[in-house]
């Protein structure tokens, strides 16, 4: 690294105060400026922010958007999530590979282009899709891929790829993206008309305790999937004595097949920020952070502008809405490509500039979270609900849904259906009704709640979407009769293996073993005992893993073994005379037969 680069890296550190807690931001900045974080840069950063070198490397090596090796000036990240595969990912990939003349994962010799695969980027309803640097490019085809490469070779500017703008705020001057909202079914809660400041003014007119009571009366439960009562979470944090408290909005929407938060952040960012502000008022927090997944970086200027406007209007900053002593502001923290950071304790580690390894609980964030202070982490959709509850009152909110699951749920529908997109439906709606709305009646199976949810077959289509039946963070991926379900299950299993942090044994070592067994069954080399193994090992992983990722990683296999057993049983069988089916002698002999001078043997 030239000394000039080194001094520039030092400047980047100083722009971020040269403090360890900003390491992730520093790393992102160095990555985007130098297209990589060289070993020397790691030394420089470690020296500048005064942490051990390995601490920097630990962070850099954790996030998929960061790399030690230099990436191309333009990095094309092609999403290979299941909906993209259903929509022709393979041919698009081949078109890119051919047009760029590099393999997937490669960089052109001139250092201009890198082609990579990436997990879900939140565009499942307009797949296949890719990110070109930070620019989202939906609805890809092989022709489009070739055009894109040609254009980029010409002008080298991803922003110029943007042709026809998307609907709603996607056309906003601060976004200017080709993304579509596909808002197929707006509901009465989240997408109801919004009047800026209304909810906050109502909140500050109440006491914090009353605000919490309102949220409790509305029986609001977390929309991320786990469904923990929001009011209770707030109360815990409120009761802890501390001079600093934090409100964090989890906008690290990474569950494959989920894109609802993307649409809320595009169309209802005010409700998100208002929800954070109300939470802050309720528990007495003065600082808020919105953790935005790296894939949504294109929304950053827009969101920053909205925050700015709220400050101008007294909805953020000091004495919010005229309430003396209610000071609160929000900053946006960008992620860098790590699904596990959607887990709240991992998100907090990431916020602190560390690897996104989840933490042990207890202690829970509500008592000891960000920088060891009481911290509430809420999902984007949850915070929007909070705002609506304050606007319209708990009673209105509870008109929708079921006793256990009040309100509406925002669903991201994709896959084999006619109308992929966003649906705001009341809790308690049956899966069948959702499929009818979306034109997916022909479904042979549906992934409800993304890979960490359940893969269910037609027998379960009358089950209801709510916390006490089919709980979901919002992803609904539809699979038609012609799909190879075990390959889909394998793809989701690979996703968890890639995204796990590696901290604990069951998830790190167990999931690859699950995949071995699954592949054996898929390839027709499985035996009934392998299905028992899958069930036993899956149960062990689910029960002994430390965090939510590990506890749900076996779900694609376990739920399909339950709901779609014939898929497995039809491909397994007993081996003759105690010989295992999985051993393939011919395949095992290939390398030996290839050795020079090797004659066929007498056997």
């Amino acid at each position: 690294m030239t000394s000039q680069n080194e001094s520039r890296v030092r400047d980047i550190c100083r722009e971020h105060g040269s403090v360890p807690v900003r390491l992730l931001d520093i790393a992102r900045a160095v990555q985007s400026e130098f297209r990589g974080i060289s070993q020397q840069s790691i030394d420089t950063i470690a020296d500048e922010i005064r942490v051990p070198r390995v601490t920097v490397e630990a962070c850099v090596s954790f996030y998929s958007f960061l790399s030690v090796e230099r990436k191309g000036d333009i990095t094309i990240r092609l999403c290979d999530d299941v909906p993209d595969r259903l929509a022709g990912y393979a041919t698009v990939r081949d078109a890119f590979v051919e047009a760029l003349g590099i393999p997937l994962g490669g960089t052109t010799p001139d250092g201009r282009f890198t082609l990579e695969r990436t997990a879900c980027i939140g565009l499942s309803d307009q797949a296949p899709a890719a990110l070109v640097n930070e620019v989202p490019v939906p609805d890809l085809s092989s022709d489009r891929a070739r055009e894109i490469v040609a254009a980029l070779k010409r002008h080298g500017d991803p922003r110029q790829l943007v042709r026809k703008l998307g609907d709603g705020n996607n056309a906003h001057s601060r976004i200017q993206s080709m993304v579509h909202n596909n808002l197929q079914y707006p509901g009465e809660i989240l997408f109801s008309p919004y009047h800026r400041g209304e909810a906050i003014r109502k909140a500050v007119a109440m006491s914090p305790a009353e605000v919490i009571r309102a949220v409790k009366t509305a029986r609001l439960r977390g929309r991320g999937g786990a469904g923990f009562p929001t009011g209770m979470k707030w109360e815990f944090a409120r009761e802890v004595e501390a001079d600093r408290k934090f409100v964090i909005c989890n906008a690290d929407e990474g569950e494959p097949g989920t894109f609802k938060d993307r649409v809320l952040l595009t169309e209802r960012p005010e409700r998100v920020f208002a929800g954070m502000t109300i939470a802050a008022y309720a528990l007495g927090a003065s600082e808020g952070v919105l953790y935005l997944r790296g894939e949504y970086a294109y929304l950053l200027p827009f969101l920053e502008q909205r925050l700015e406007r709220r400050r101008d209007e007294g909805l953020l900053g000091e004495s919010i809405a005229g309430k003396q002593g209610f000071d609160f502001d929000i900053r946006i923290q960008m992620g860098a490509g790590a699904y596990v950071c959607g887990e709240e304790t991992a998100l907090i580690n990431s916020l602190e500039g560390n690897r996104g390894d989840p933490r042990d609980r207890p202690p829970f964030p509500a008592s000891k979270g960000f920088q060891a202070s009481p911290t509430v982490v809420n999902n984007v959709e949850t915070l929007c609900c909070v705002t609506r509850i304050l606007e319209a009152g708990p009673a209105t909110f509870c008109e929708f849904g079921t006793p256990q699951s009040a309100g509406t749920k925002l669903l991201s529908v994709s896959g084999d259906c006619r109308l992929p997109g966003i649906y705001e439906v009341p809790f308690g709606i049956s899966l069948r009704e959702v499929l009818e709305l979306a034109g997916g009646e022909m479904a042979a199976a549906v992934q409800v709640g993304g890979p960490s949810g359940k893969l269910v077959g037609p027998a379960d289509f009358d089950r209801r979407i709510c916390f006490d039946d089919l709980a979901t963070g919002g992803a609904i991926v539809v699979f038609g009769p012609e799909r190879d379900l075990l390959s889909i299950v394998a793809a989701y299993t690979e996703f968890f293996i890639e995204e796990g942090c590696g901290h604990c044994t069951p998830c790190r070592a167990g999931m690859p073993a699950m995949l071995d067994l699954l592949a054996r069954v898929r390839d027709g080399r499985g035996e009934p005992v392998d299905l028992d193994r899958l069930r036993e090992l899956g149960d062990t992983i689910r029960r002994t893993s430390r965090c939510g990722l590990g506890q749900t990683a076996p779900n694609p296999i376990l739920s399909s073994l339950e709901g779609l057993a014939p898929e497995y049983e039809s491909r397994t069988g007993d081996a003759a005379a105690g010989l295992t089916r999985r051993f393939d002698l011919d395949a095992a002999l290939v390398p030996a037969q290839a050795v020079p001078g090797r004659a066929p043997s007498h056997l």
């Binding site: 105690g578 010989l579 002999l589």
Partner: protein, 181 residues
């Protein structure tokens, strides 16, 4: 009634397990009272004489003939026991699983300091069975009923397992007899 028959074989192992079996010393003679030895490298039966009650197999599968042998044992034995770490997990021969096969042959038959090999080719005659891509534990190739780990298993482990099997008991070893070295 005739005594139960036992067959033994060594595949990709070092014969240490057979040595440890012989380390039963006087008890070998006791054992001979109880069983009939069928096909085994310690006698001159080169193929199975009869169906056997127990097959004890040392070594993993490193080449196509190992595979043929273990399949033959599976067919001819009621209870099949993999004996020793090579049989249960590949053992030392499986260290080659971490290195490309061709590099191993190259070092032994072409690059070695005292090698005289004008052809520059490793042995490849039809009489030589082809090597497998990697060394396999026996249970990867056929169903195995019991495992006797150890490098080698102690004579006591053999004694415990064999006497259990002869009295129709499961051949589960107590932790004190489970060793991997």
């Amino acid at each position: 009634m005739s005594r139960p028959r036992i067959a033994t074989a060594s595949l990709a192992g070092c014969f240490g397990c057979h040595m440890s079996l012989l380390d039963l010393d006087e008890r070998i003679l006791e054992l001979a009272e109880l069983v009939e030895f069928d096909r085994s490298p310690i006698d001159d039966y080169k193929e199975f004489q009869e169906r056997c009650a127990v097959g004890l197999v040392e070594g993993g599968c490193a080449n196509e003939e190992n595979v043929a042998t273990i399949r033959e044992f599976r067919k001819k034995c009621d209870v099949l026991v993999s004996v020793g770490d090579c049989a249960t997990m590949g053992g030392i021969p499986a260290m080659r699983n971490l290195v490309p096969l061709e590099e191993c042959l190259q070092e032994a038959y072409v690059d070695g300091p005292t090698v005289h090999n004008p052809s520059g080719l490793p042995p490849g005659d039809p009489e030589l069975p082809r090597l497998l891509d990697r060394v396999y534990a026996l249970h990867e190739v056929v169903d195995i009923d019991w495992h006797l780990p150890g490098c080698p298993p102690s004579p006591e482990a053999f004694w415990a397992a064999v006497s259990a099997l002869l009295s129709g008991e499961p051949a589960e070893l107590p932790p004190s007899l489970i060793r991997y070295d």
